[in-house]
């Protein structure tokens, strides 16, 4: 899987293909559908009244989160014009946790419970978008800083956000901390039912917007100068995309917590295998890969390891190795 990484992927041209991107997408779709079916039926004992809602909720959350992470990563890489950065490597989800903590810290859980969960969720997503938008606008678009500096600064921001979060968490009452921990360290097994419906709806709308923008995205891939030249409203469109990315990241982090390297993994699997740089192929491919990996991984986790491991740990392992390889390749290339 990682061996493929060595072949160059930049540029829109595709290598000579036996099968076109559409066929490849279809294969991925069948694999994803197979994984989902297997997940729903394996060891079911015919107890459908229990299984359909129980496993169905897991599936819906995995599909929603997988789509959100895949799309946000590819969009982020398109507007920042690189294939190494992802929102979570840049500390987006650490920022989300920080905002959560600040809200609990300043409002208190008693009031927090009284506020409508959905309203709160929407408010958090908005706050997050504003903060992240300002921060990353400053870092990426406004100035011509080197890519490595930006990544490094992003990682340091991540450490800073995490430290600030744990600093604030130390200052909160233990009871309030317990509430916060429930919000922060959820997994696919304990997804909040109420939020799931809302989050899926938000993700769906955002994906629809992105789908309508796919031509603009392809143009943005050419870089700032060329895309302006062919009539893209660069500033406006980049800002829209950045907003979409922050919404997707906050929604998926709110649902299942941070999965740092997952976006990087699925985006690169998509770039390597789909044989096209058009967003109408890469985004669905990455999304299907995330469904395959998440559902398959969860299945292996439950059946082989008896829940005795964590999916995010394994993803960190594989993703970290991939990231080092990408950095090394980048270093060799220039």
């Amino acid at each position: 899987m990682l061996g493929n990484v060595a072949s160059p992927t930049t540029g829109v041209e595709a290598p000579a293909l036996k099968f076109g991107p559409k066929v490849r997408l279809l294969v991925l779709f069948l694999l994803a559908a197979g994984a989902v079916t297997l997940f729903m039926t394996i060891g079911s004992n015919g107890n459908w009244d229990f299984i359909i809602p129980f496993r169905g909720r897991k599936i819906v959350s995995m599909v929603a989160v997988g789509f959100a992470i895949a799309a946000s990563t590819i969009l982020f890489q398109t507007i920042t014009d690189n294939r190494i950065l992802t929102p979570s490597i840049m500390g987006f989800d650490a920022l989300y946790m920080l905002i959560q903590t600040v809200i609990v810290f300043s409002v208190g859980t008693v009031q927090l419970v009284q506020i409508n969960a959905r309203m709160l969720f929407l408010f958090e997503v908005l706050a997050m978008s504003a903060f992240a938008g300002a921060l990353y606008w400053m870092l990426f678009i406004q100035s011509d800083r080197s890519l490595h500096l930006v990544v490094f600064v992003g990682i340091i921001f991540g450490v800073l956000f995490r430290s600030l979060t744990s600093l604030l968490q130390r200052m909160i009452d233990p009871t309030e901390f317990a509430v916060l921990q429930d919000i922060g360290f959820a997994s696919f097994n304990t997804v909040n039912r109420e939020l799931l419906a809302l989050a899926s709806a938000v993700i769906f709308v955002v994906l629809l917007v992105i789908w309508r923008m796919n031509r603009v995205l392809d143009a943005l891939l050419l870089g700032r100068e060329l895309s302006v030249n062919i009539g893209v409203e660069y500033r406006r469109d980049v800002m829209i995309v950045l907003t979409m990315v922050t919404i997707l990241v906050s929604v998926s982090t709110a649902l299942v917590g941070p999965i740092t390297f997952f976006g990087l993994l699925v985006a690169h699997l998509a770039y390597q295998t789909i044989g096209s740089s058009y967003h109408r192929y890469t985004i669905p491919a990455a999304a299907l890969y995330s469904v395959i990996l998440l559902v398959g991984g969860q299945m292996i986790l439950e059946r082989v390891f008896n829940f005795n491991s964590s999916l995010s740990i394994m993803i960190d392992f594989a993703g970290g190795l991939l990231f080092i390889m990408l950095l090394l390749r980048e270093g060799r290339k220039r």
């Binding site: 800083r145 080197s146 490595h148 500096l149 990544v151 490094f152 600064v153 990682i155 340091i156 921001f157 450490v159 800073l160 995490r162 430290s163 600030l164 744990s166 600093l167 130390r170 200052m171 740092t260 005795n308 491991s309 964590s310 740990i313 394994m314 960190d316 392992f317 970290g320 190795l321 990231f323 080092i324 950095l327 090394l328 980048e330 270093g331 060799r332 220039r334």
Partner: protein, 337 residues
């Protein structure tokens, strides 16, 4: 005549610098005194001086307060010095035990010894952790050696990611054997565990930092590369191995006794070199003193913010150090970009 004047000026400069260094040492001492007297159990200084403090007071002082302050000074100084050494050996400003996989590898070592020999004495733990730290740092340097690098910032990025991969292996096994909670005590530094009888290994860190100071010139030369070092008549391999061994042992000792502290080995040498330049023989005492003073201040802050509770030092340094480091990075971005 002109040369004599310059020499005299240099001498004057040296005298002034030495005087400033003495002031800084006094400053660190004052901080240390504050640190000793900060806490729920309060002492009357007059009683202590007269020697008629009750048994309880002197016990708190000797068993908890003084060991803690000594531990902070030793760790602050030794971590900063090892950071400086790594920056020389890798010839990169952004390398430090926390950005080269050293700390994470040491944690893996502690996990291994905890799994296979939970009752092992602390000395054995430190030896195993030092060995894994050495291995991890060696892998990091081998990766660096094998590729031509365009930007100095790629080096710490690779180190951080290597650390991430190593620590995901650690968490995998910690998760399987229910050791995640113990793991968090090594990964987030906390001085509240320091008591008499549990910190004495830190003197080893202090001693090794002193060795590093006396051998500083060699490490500077080794940083220039193998051919250059050999040309000057030094055994390159031996110097590198000595340097890495010191770094690994100091890191292992510090992680075993209090846990990892982010940014410390990174910002202190950088701040000092921004003010005083890169002559490490001259700056090493400054780095040690600044490291100790910075860590004392962070510790006092961590204990005062939420008095009488305390915030772990790793968290405080993560916030303060992160802000300082971002400031350094973005201010000098034109230089390092």
């Amino acid at each position: 005549m002109a040369i004599a004047n310059t020499l005299q000026a240099a001498d004057m400069n040296q005298v002034r610098m030495n005087r400033r260094l003495i002031y800084s040492v006094v400053g660190v001492f004052v901080l240390a005194v504050i640190s000793v007297f900060l806490g729920v159990y309060s002492f009357s200084i007059r009683d202590l001086v007269r020697g008629d403090a009750d048994v309880h007071a002197s016990m708190v002082l000797l068993v908890s307060r003084i060991p803690r302050t000594v531990a902070i000074v030793l760790i602050g100084a030794s971590t900063s010095i090892t950071g400086m050494m790594m920056q020389m050996l890798a010839r990169n400003r952004f390398v430090s035990p926390t950005t080269a996989g050293t700390v994470e590898s040491a944690s893996l070592g502690i996990l291994i010894i905890t799994l296979f020999a939970p009752g092992a004495p602390i000395g054995i733990k430190i030896i195993v952790a030092s060995l894994t730290a050495l291995l991890g740092t060696g892998i990091f340097l081998a990766i660096l050696r094998s590729i031509p690098l365009r930007s100095p910032l790629v080096v710490p990025l690779i180190g951080i990611m290597l650390g991430g991969v190593v620590s995901s292996v650690t968490s995998f096994f910690a998760y399987r054997y229910d050791l995640l909670q113990s793991l968090s005590t090594w990964t987030n530094g906390d001085f509240s565990r320091v008591l008499r009888g549990r910190y004495e290994m830190l003197w080893l860190s202090g001693a090794l930092a002193l060795v590093a100071y006396f051998a500083a010139d060699r490490f500077t030369v080794a940083g220039m590369g193998e051919a250059f070092t050999t040309n000057l008549g030094l055994n390159y391999r031996r110097v590198m191995v000595l340097g890495l061994t010191i770094v690994s042992i100091v890191t292992a000792v510090n992680v075993v006794t209090v846990g990892a502290i982010p940014f410390l080995g990174l910002i202190v040498p950088n701040v000092v070199s921004a003010m005083l330049g890169d002559n490490v023989r001259r700056t090493a005492p400054w780095i040690a003193v600044t490291g100790a003073g910075f860590l004392l201040m962070c510790d006092i802050a961590g204990r005062a913010i939420r008095y009488p509770y305390e915030i772990p030092i790793g968290t405080v340094v993560g916030v303060v150090g992160g802000i300082i480091f971002l400031f350094l990075l973005l201010r000098s971005s034109s230089r390092v970009g």
